[in-house]
């Protein structure tokens, strides 16, 4: 679904590139987390993968299309239709209410009014935002704002969700709620998700974790199937001592 080839990005010449010839393939339906030290370039990599930023070298293919060689106009369309973004600070429009925020990408894309209305209704219900449709972001808790942001990201029925520290501003319980939504999307709708996080327990929801450091993928760890009972044994062994 996403193929990253020889991607490189350097903000200042002479310095170590923040993305240093990265190659990566993310399959359709895969849920991947990226972890790594602060300042290592995780957000830069994610932004490049979503076409929010331009690389010095290399290409990103999303659903087969080379993101960085498309014209500006086609890239914008592609971003809007195929990729849903979620950020740590939600990035909602403060003047618009919940309904309008969720509808925003569809309105920009000139979708028919009735279609927008139906989709927004559906998402409000799915994300537990019923009764909050008329509220503006300031009137919502952090967890609720992030759910609005997720609804907005899903409005155009994207192929991929890119999330940068989606739980970074939330407490444990709210983080768990947000992660359960993403997990549900992944499991029930086979959504392809790439998420940056500092938090191991949040990354643990993914089935693949990339450790990113100094502009490179240091390790690529996948969940192994079938060794679940051993985990339980370990805990029970601890109980015995």
């Amino acid at each position: 679904m996403i193929v990253v080839e020889g991607l490189r990005k350097q903000y200042r010449s002479g310095e170590q590139p923040v993305v240093d010839h990265v190659n990566l393939e993310v399959k359709q339906g895969e849920f991947t987390a990226i972890m790594g030290p602060s300042g290592s370039g995780k957000s830069t990599l994610l932004n490049l993968m979503g076409g929010l930023d331009l690389p010095d070298q290399g290409t990103v293919y999303v659903d087969g299309l080379p993101l960085h060689t498309l014209s500006e106009k086609r890239r914008t369309l592609m971003r809007r239709r195929k990729i849903g973004y979620i950020f740590q600070n939600y990035q909602l429009l403060s003047m618009l209410n919940v309904r309008e925020n969720i509808a925003f990408p569809m309105s920009v894309d000139r979708c028919p009014k009735e279609e927008i209305q139906l989709r927004v209704q559906e998402l409000v219900k799915e994300l537990g935002l019923k009764g909050k449709e008329e509220a503006v972001p300031d009137e919502l808790s952090g967890g609720q704002q992030q759910r609005v942001a997720i609804a907005r990201a899903l409005a155009m029925q994207p192929k991929v969700i890119l999330a940068d520290e989606p739980t970074g501003n939330l407490d444990r319980k709210r983080s768990q709620e947000v992660m359960e939504i993403l997990l549900h999307l992944h499991r029930k709708e086979r959504m392809t998700i790439v998420m940056v996080t500092h938090d191991l327990s949040v990354a643990g929801y993914a089935e693949r974790i990339l450790l990113y450091k100094d502009g490179r993928i240091e390790s690529d760890i996948r969940q192994k199937e079938g060794d679940m009972p051993r985990v339980l044994e370990d805990f029970l062994a601890q109980l015995q001592t």
């Binding site: 327990s201 643990g204 974790i209 390790s219 985990v231």
Partner: protein, 169 residues
């Protein structure tokens, strides 16, 4: 030892036969900790000797029902109220590092990196396990898994600290 206290807890609920204790215990730990009948009977004998339980009648050990005594209830309460200490030095991974230090093992950062990968896998397993648990039916198991997740998080932070130090060396 926990088997002893698990048996006291099961008898605290109601009088039981040895076999009943075995099956109840196994359902309490979701079948993940099999208990053989011999272990149940030797523990019951020891508890009887210490006056913490008593058989309700003499005879065939399979048929014999047991009851908890007042001393047994008191012992159970005391055990429940006693905080559990964790021994730092008994941490298996720390012990490994200590030995590596001792022999000046040249691949120390590899030890740390491998441990980190293992922690990460472990976290993914726990998350998967957690996602399959039902809040109504598996409440105790959820506590256990959530506790495990928090421990892993702390272990990861500790490991990252060690990795940072080892990089500076």
């Amino acid at each position: 030892m926990s088997v002893k206290h698990a048996i006291l807890a099961l008898l605290y609920q109601q009088n039981r036969h040895g076999y009943d204790i075995k099956t109840q215990f196994e359902s309490m730990v979701h079948g993940q900790w099999p208990l053989n009948a011999g272990q149940v009977y030797t523990t019951l004998d020891r508890l009887t000797r210490d006056g913490l339980v008593e058989p309700l009648a003499e005879g065939d050990r399979d048929r014999k029902e047991y009851r908890i005594t007042d001393a047994g209830k008191e012992a159970l309460h005391q055990w429940l109220l006693t905080p559990v200490e964790r021994s730092l030095l008994k941490d298996a991974f720390f012990f490994k590092l200590l030995c590596a230090q001792e022999i000046d093992f040249p691949r120390k950062s590899e030890i740390l990196n491998r441990q980190r990968s293992s922690l990460i896998r472990h976290m993914m397993q726990l998350r998967q396990l957690r996602a399959g648990l039902d809040p109504k039916r598996h409440k105790a198991m959820i506590y256990l898994v959530e506790g495990g997740i928090l421990h892993l998080e702390a272990d990861m932070k500790w490991l990252e600290m060690l990795l940072e130090e080892s990089e500076m060396e």
